[in-house]
């Protein structure tokens, strides 16, 4: 097979953030990106609304204890958010700005925070409903994530209305144990050696590179032990490629540069056209997991945009402020005294313990790759309360 290959080399450390004290960020590895896909005229990230974020909050979106979702309120939040983002008078016209009836659309959910903090099924269903409203058939829609066992626990299919029968539920691997590389594209990958691992390639999910024409990204508001926060960028980057957990090991994280590097690879960058940050519930510590409610909080908010960097920049403050409110160390804390990299249980028990030095600077790094706006003074935030 002959193909055109575009190779981009990123070396040295010009984008490493200045660090005040504590553990220094690891040197940026040498990346080799291989893809034959060209960028769209207007790549989906940052898309037509760089630096713009619509935040819709409703106290009624969840029950008082936060455990039950009100689907009708979520629908209203979605409609208001999409219309406000696009300026359209009708919701259907808002969706038409991003999709047409010929598109094959992937909905990238986040299932890692099961059971409490995952892409809320009611939000996913609203996406499906609106896509169908503009003429996209259920068979052209894929709800996807990397790991089947996580998806099985949520079982999105049970939430879909009968009219949506035919929507595809797709997982790239059976579980997070590297059982299979079969659903990853051997011709689209980023190669890097982080810790001397043998397998130095992270390949894009083939569904993304060969089938989907558009992607809706639905991350959650979550803390992350390696990246600081896991929002739009990490959900589409680490959720769209294989072999990514290798970037953080024994206290050191290369997520600073790798998250943005992956998100910038074509065609994922061009095809991810809509960001819907699910902040009905959030995780302020021990993320990205949420097996208990211990560190779950309830922002009751959904954010809309096309700029993943801008949304994630706001997410950093949301998570850090909640941590501050809870008396926990900042996600920016680089004090090695907080580090106990072999002790996940201690991290789970104590919000002042890190297992890895977090790298929230990955958001700024992504901005420098052209994926969006990280400068808080240049982000236009429109807040709506229902």
């Amino acid at each position: 097979m002959e193909r055109r290959t575009f190779v981009k080399l990123l070396s040295s450390t010009p984008l490493a953030p200045a660090l005040a004290s504590g553990a220094e960020a690891a040197e940026i590895p040498r990346y080799r990106t291989v893809t034959s896909h060209r960028p769209a005229v207007v790549p989906g990230m940052p898309g037509p609304y760089p630096g713009t974020v619509i935040s819709v909050k409703s106290a009624r979106s969840l029950s008082p204890d936060g455990l039950k979702v009100d689907g009708e309120v979520v629908r209203e939040m979605m409609e208001r958010g999409m219309r406000s983002l696009t300026g359209a008078n009708r919701t259907v016209d808002a969706w038409k700005q991003f999709f047409n009836r010929d598109d094959v659309v992937g909905i990238k959910v986040n299932a890692g925070g099961r059971p409490w903090v995952v892409s809320t099924p009611e939000i996913v269903v609203e996406c499906v409903r609106n896509l169908m409203a503009i003429g996209i058939r259920p068979e052209q829609i894929y709800i996807f994530e990397r790991f089947e066992d996580q998806m099985d626990e949520i079982n999105y299919a049970q939430y879909l209305p009968p009219a949506a029968a035919g929507v595809n539920i797709f997982s790239a691997e059976r579980a997070n144990q590297r059982y299979s590389n079969a659903n990853y594209d051997p011709s689209v990958y980023v190669e890097a050696d982080f810790f001397g691992e043998d397998d130095t390639r992270s390949n894009m999910i083939t569904l993304i590179s060969r089938k989907l024409t558009k992607i809706i990204n639905i991350p959650n508001m979550k803390d992350h032990g390696a990246t600081g926060v896991t929002g739009c960028l990490k959900n589409i980057a680490y959720g769209g490629f294989s072999n990514v957990a290798r970037t953080h090991y024994r206290g050191t994280s290369h997520t600073l540069s790798f998250v943005g590097t992956l998100a910038a690879v074509e065609p994922i960058r061009s095809r991810t056209v809509l960001q819907i940050m699910d902040g009905l519930r959030g995780v302020w510590h021990a993320g990205p997991f949420a097996s208990t409610l211990k560190y779950v909080f309830f922002p009751r908010t959904i954010m809309f945009g096309t700029d993943p960097v801008a949304i994630d920049r706001l997410l950093i403050d949301i998570i850090d402020e909640e941590r501050k409110r809870q008396g926990a160390i900042s996600i920016w804390d680089r004090n090695e005294k907080t580090l106990d990299f072999m002790n996940g249980k201690k991290r789970d028990d104590d919000p002042n313990v890190n297992i890895i030095i977090r790298e929230p600077g990955h958001v700024e790094f992504a901005a420098k790759l052209g994926l969006g706006v990280a400068d808080i003074t240049k982000i236009s935030l429109r807040e709506i309360e229902l």
Partner: protein, 336 residues
């Protein structure tokens, strides 16, 4: 209760979805294949039907029992006590949990024998008391390195062992020289064995030599200024240093999609053969290989999955890449 079965393996065999050897199928003998698997059975001739039912076609037995087995219709080889004692014991091949040992990466530990086979290519080996489920991998491991090895397998593994041996024998024989990216001078130092083990584990292709060879860009001789013995105290770090020196782009063989595959490459410039050993105990899917060389096509035979072409092949100047859709314990790729 364990019955002793010993399989004597050789080089160069074949793979089809593992059926038992049919009555009308004549597999090459161990003599014809230049070494080859023999089954050494200490259960006695009274178990001949069990042995036949398992698909065994060639068998080694204690020398004293040879006469009793001659009427079995099987190909029988006697192994005397002295001969048996001359077989070097090797480890049970497996994924090994070593939680108390710090590792440099997430890479799991593997108990493998490739380095021993490379160091003693003309040696005789014995897999002693293989637990159930390990005979297939042991047979494939010895086959991949082209050595004679005796396998003492669990009774419940008899059929698996026979099937594996038969499948391996169906492979076309390809006696090709090993491909190496560097040499290691065997100075018989205590550290050298573990260095060889880790180099093999990392799929770093080496040739063991008595003295440095000028045609290789890297010659490792422990105890020299360039490679002090102290550096080999951490063989994993040492292997990584060698890897960096070679440069991944320059390596003759790379494997992507798993950290639990050990590969071996042989070739003569026109032909190449890649052996892939899967120590994970489970099926591997979508494994990708990258081989340096002017190869245009590759034929895959994966034990239990039959013969097929590699998928998603990519031929660029001096590099051949391809994907193995599925493989179990062992796969071999013939390149031309």
């Amino acid at each position: 209760m364990r019955w002793g079965i010993i399989l004597l393996l050789l080089s160069g065999l074949s793979i089809l979805p593992g059926a038992k050897a049919g009555l009308n199928e004549t597999l090459p003998t161990s003599v014809e294949t230049g070494g080859g698997p023999l089954i050494y059975w200490t259960g006695g001739v009274s178990t001949v039907e069990e042995v036949r039912k398992a698909g065994v076609v060639e068998l080694a037995v204690p020398a004293a029992e040879v006469a009793a087995w001659q009427k079995s219709g099987l190909r029988i080889h006697g192994v005397g006590e002295t001969d048996l004692a001359n077989h070097r014991p090797v480890a049970v091949p497996k994924l090994a949990g070593r939680g108390n040992v710090a590792s440099a990466t997430r890479r799991p530990w593997i108990d493998a024998n490739g380095w021993v086979f490379t160091k003693y290519p003309a040696g005789k080996f014995i897999y002693d008391e293989l637990p159930a489920g390990k005979s297939g991998l042991a047979a494939a491991e010895a086959y991949a390195y082209g050595v004679n090895a005796l396998l003492k397998v669990a009774r419940e593994d008899l059929e698996m062992a026979a099937r594996t041996i038969n499948d391996l024998r169906r492979l076309p024989v390809a006696r090709l020289p090993i491909v190496a990216d560097f040499t290691v001078v065997d100075n018989n130092s205590p550290q050298i064995d573990e260095v060889l083990n880790l180099l093999t584990r990392r799929n770093l292709l080496y040739r063991i030599v008595p003295a440095p060879v000028a045609s290789y860009p890297i010659n490792i001789r422990l105890g020299t200024k360039e490679y002090p013995e102290a550096d080999a105290a951490d063989p994993s770090a040492f292997a990584q240093t060698i890897r960096v020196k070679i440069g991944d782009e320059n390596r003759s063989l790379r494997v992507y999609g798993s950290e639990i595959i050990i590969a071996r490459l042989t070739g003569d410039g026109a032909r190449g053969r890649v052996h892939l050993l899967n120590y994970s105990g489970r099926q591997a899917e979508g494994l990708r290989i990258r081989v340096r060389g002017n190869y245009r096509s590759g034929t895959l035979a994966a034990l239990g999955f039959g013969k097929e072409n590699l998928e998603e092949t990519l031929v660029t100047k001096g590099v051949y890449e391809g994907t193995i859709p599925k493989m179990g314990t062992y796969a071999v790729i013939d390149l031309r």
